[in-house]
Symmetry: C2
């Protein structure tokens, strides 16, 4: 029979079992955190009608879309979780209760040029709060608390949540009479971290044709040196938009500590814009202090109109997204994953030492009833090979059951980490394994010194 060479497409993450356990643990941790904030889980289809995904219209994502026909149907794979959410809310508005809080952790597809650390199939972990016509600022204030708990619970320590408000930026440009150049200026400003203030000044005056005095105002305004409150105060009363933004930003910052975010974990950063069209209020970025080169690991913001291309209903919202596959890849590359946590498929391996495996099967069933993840080893192999099987998989306990043990109502328990072996009755055996496994399962997914 002619063989087809087995392969996985490039740009598609496929993990070995132990790594998969680590990834799933990260997903479970996020599910738990999102649930704590009252978000309900959604699971929309991976395939949608192309016209649904193209409705919003964005050149870049449209080009990357996996689009195809089946029969008469023009279909495509979702490239994010926001457009399917918009469709869902527009379709089901009458059946949902607003504000509607949902999370979705699922795969999305972008046919980008494949390169190291870039994925064509990747998980996004999104939350959004959607209002019906209006949405209170408290929802925007709550988001940094969610980001903080999400990453802290995973074990990440050295990160910073950066917060801004788009109305502050737009109002500021309005005050300077530079609204029409806002897009170009924001793109220049966005490069501050990379190229420094002098180069930004050059770009502003030369490429954006901003006066030297205005360039100075802009650089002062975005400089991290001065306190945000002072900078906001300096421009208040000159633009309604600016004042609203300043008010909102102040509110978000005011409740930060009540939402559980310590002072060192966030800062206001007037340079953050997060694209030009979509966001209208608070915007968020999250960076790893030791790996700024990765860019933001959790971003999002407030938008005024989730689903304008599907419905006349005004649906403002606020949301964030974590690019989970890329984050996991980077954490693995940088040695952040906690390899000391149990990744074995089982807590214990029962090895029958008699021809009739009945008693070993019964003990295995008893252990499973007690919640112990148990494998029964039935293969016809040498004893050494059976132990090697457990060791290779990192299964922490082996249980031996021979004639003598069966007669005595006991079993031999071998701790494969310490090498010690002892005889226990079944109840004691189960409690030993459970407490041992518990201690091997303590600790965060990520180790961040």
């Amino acid at each position: 029979m002619e063989k087809v060479k087995p392969r996985t497409l490039s740009g598609f993450m496929e993990l070995l079992p132990a790594r998969q356990v680590q990834f799933d643990r990260m997903v479970d941790s996020l599910r738990e955190t999102y649930s704590l904030y009252g978000f309900t889980a959604l699971d929309t289809p991976v395939i949608e009608a192309s016209e649904i995904l193209l409705a919003k219209g964005s050149g870049e994502t449209d080009k990357q879309m996996y689009r195809f026909t089946k029969g008469d149907a023009d279909l495509a794979l979702r490239f994010d979780l926001t457009v399917p959410l918009a469709k869902y809310v527009a379709m089901h508005a009458g059946e949902l209760t607003f504000p509607f809080r949902r999370y979705q952790i699922g795969k999305v597809y972008r046919g980008e040029r494949a390169q190291r650390g870039r994925f064509r199939e990747f998980y996004q972990a999104d939350i959004d709060v959607i209002g019906d016509g209006a949405l209170d600022i408290s929802n925007e204030a709550e988001i940094p608390g969610i980001i903080y708990r999400s990453f802290t619970r995973l074990g990440l320590k050295r990160f910073c949540i950066r917060v801004n408000n788009r109305k502050v930026l737009s109002g500021f440009f309005e005050i300077l009479g530079l609204s029409e150049k806002a897009g170009d200026i924001m793109r220049a400003v966005d490069r501050l971290d990379k190229v420094g203030p002098d180069t930004v000044r050059d770009i502003l005056t030369q490429d954006c044709a901003v006066s030297s005095s205005d360039a100075g105002h802009i650089l002062d305004f975005i400089s991290p040196a001065a306190a945000t409150e002072e900078k906001l105060a300096a421009y208040r009363g000159k633009s309604g938009l600016f004042d609203t933004g300043a008010e909102e930003l102040t509110t978000v910052l005011r409740y930060m500590s009540a939402f559980g975010v310590p002072h060192e974990a966030y800062r206001a950063d007037l340079t953050i814009a997060r694209g030009l069209d979509y966001y209208t209020g608070t915007v968020y970025e999250t960076t790893m202090l030791d790996h700024p080169e990765i860019g933001s690991i959790c971003s999002g913001g407030r938008y005024d109109d989730l689903a304008g291309y599907y419905t006349d209903k005004k649906l403002p919202g606020v949301g964030i997204s974590i690019g989970l596959t890329r984050l996991f890849y980077v954490l693995g590359e940088q040695g952040y994953l906690n390899d000391s946590l149990l990744t074995a498929p089982a807590d214990a391996l029962v090895i029958p030492m008699t021809d009739d495996i009945g008693p070993a099967v019964s003990l295995t069933t008893l252990m499973r009833d007690a919640g112990i993840r148990t494998q029964l080893y039935g293969e016809n192999k040498k004893f050494k090979a059976k132990i090697a099987y457990a060791s290779k998989l990192g299964i922490p306990y082996a249980v031996f059951l021979g004639e003598d043990e069966i007669a005595a109502g006991k079993a031999a328990l071998k701790d494969l980490n310490t090498g010690t072996q002892e005889l226990f009755d079944y109840e004691e055996l189960i409690s030993r394994i459970k407490s041992g496994v518990l201690s091997l399962s303590q600790g965060p997914v990520i180790i961040d010194k």
Copy 2:
């Protein structure tokens, strides 16, 4: 702005939030059960190279496949989880430890004609044990225990696991000298439940050209009236294949009770064949006693060669699959889903009664720290609308925090199911909510009287 009508493709299940919670609970229950048996989770890509998915070659699934190109690549969506597993094991054989036990719960795609209760995107929940060259019969004996625990844990009671062995069937036809007609005969026999023995006899003698005496032997052999052991004994010693099958089937049945399957939950059924090519040993089907029309809700069996189209390595295995989306749909239609379990997105809704929401935010954070899924209601609405929000979502508790409560270090807790309202300090409030939510979360996913 011209609107696109929001819609979801037909044949794609998209659930409202409360239903989604029920579905996810089913998935979580299966994950837990599969884990108890020492299966590790895999997550392979949804997209594979077409040649990978077509390697096995099966006319029906090939036609249903979603296949498309992106750039130069000829791609397709997986139509099951077995072919991707075969690819994975063939690719990574050197890095895996055998027997390799994996589960995968994921979406698969089949472009079938859409009809009520048929899905084009649906979840399969699969487990497989793959051996390297050999695999002990104990793995086949273990599977009914997994099926039994999976469904029992979900709450299903009235179901039957039917077990057979393909070698018994093939050996039996060999003994009668009917091996060449085995396929036709098995298709006829498979209709026994539907059309009855007389019609099957007619099909056998007329369509299959089986002698009237052989037709009698066949009908006697598959008849549920006689005991399996007797029927097996009657033909022993006449075919090596038959004897091996009889031995294997006897072994599987012998360990059934030690693996935790009570007598009333299974039976040997010599009519079960599960297709003609793939399975070679034990085969399983599971039927709901009150809904035989649904067909098998969990099927599978032993195969000798998982990945022959990718590798020379001999990879025998045994596996089962649950068609989760269809099962969930049917359970919903038939009123099996336990609607008394909490499906609200939150356990409690905190309603601030002061302009400064700081104290309410702090209490909310405290509740989340304690593991209570909490929403903070910040919208500018009438009090009645705030309570209506909680009621509509089925959130069981509302917490009110006004000036007096804040001054006293207390909060008012309203049980929305009973209507009672009482003042508690925060610690007591948290413990009340936790115990209330615990009791609302007890019970199985499925109610089967």
